[in-house]
Symmetry: C2
Subunit: 164 residues, 2 copies
């Protein structure tokens, strides 16, 4: 894995980032239309009020170019857990360490709000193999795998990162 | 466990059931104010539109008396899973098989919408011991337990019921 260049910055997403965020989500083949629409909905909640909606967006940018984004939020009814809903690197920015920068930024924000667990729900589908290996590289453990959760033959994989 | 009497009926909750539902939630000591407020919020979503909100409520009644309620919904982005968010028997109706009636009604509804998994998130706290034993009696399996998920020393227990 290469390291992101010094001009790459991760910060809270600006309202104007939405079109580039949706483009990034569409650029990677793993997300279907329903999933891209979900990103749009969560971003509307974030713009309205991150605390009320529970959705926080981070953008990774190099100058004006959006390289990727992440969306996380405190888990409802929990004091310790946070959900990492999305982490996505634009197809054209793959291999530059963008996802690792985003993951580290999410980890810092989760720690800053006093939480100690990052929980990731993802799919067992082959297309998500790179994502699953990425979570393991980031120090997440595969907590459980629920067979046929998403669809027949498509399991839910739950990864957990503990912030010590 | 006793069987519910023949006059006990489980059906989709009516708008007028809300006060009795909140009373039932308050009557059992395990739910705190935040959790009771969550029931209220989910019920508003159910009244507005069960499909859009994803929340379905069932009431178990004996004549005019509400004995308990359940709330479930299809899991977002999943074709197979449904979440059982709440199942609650009023303190005064404990021991009459109300929860088993509600669970069976949820199972039928989940099956009727073509889903095959009921997923239950619950706490490892001692007060939830009866609930955890209930899920096992209903044929659920303890899928995983995530340490310190809700709070330090309070784990998440995930139960799964497969509808064959």
């Amino acid at each position: 894995m290469t390291t992101a260049s010094p001009t790459v910055v991760v910060a809270a997403s600006a309202p104007a980032d939405l079109p580039a965020i949706l483009d990034a989500a569409r650029s990677v083949s793993v997300f279907n239309d329903e999933e891209v629409n979900t990103v749009d909905e969560l971003f509307q909640g974030y713009l309205k009020d991150p605390v009320v909606s529970g959705y926080n967006f981070l953008s990774c940018e190099d100058g004006d170019a959006l390289l990727g984004f992440a969306c996380w939020g405190p888990t409802a009814l929990s004091q310790g857990a946070a959900d990492l809903y999305w982490i996505c690197t634009s197809q054209s920015a793959q291999g530059r360490g963008v996802a690792a920068e985003l993951f580290e930024a999410v980890r810092r924000e989760v720690e800053a709000v006093g939480r100690w667990l990052i929980v990731i729900w993802t799919s067992s589908r082959d297309e998500y193999g790179p994502a699953r290996r990425f979570y393991l590289r980031m120090g997440c453990a595969l907590q459980t795998q629920i067979a046929d959760f998403y669809a027949r033959g498509e399991d839910l994989c739950v990864y957990v990162k503990r912030i010590e």
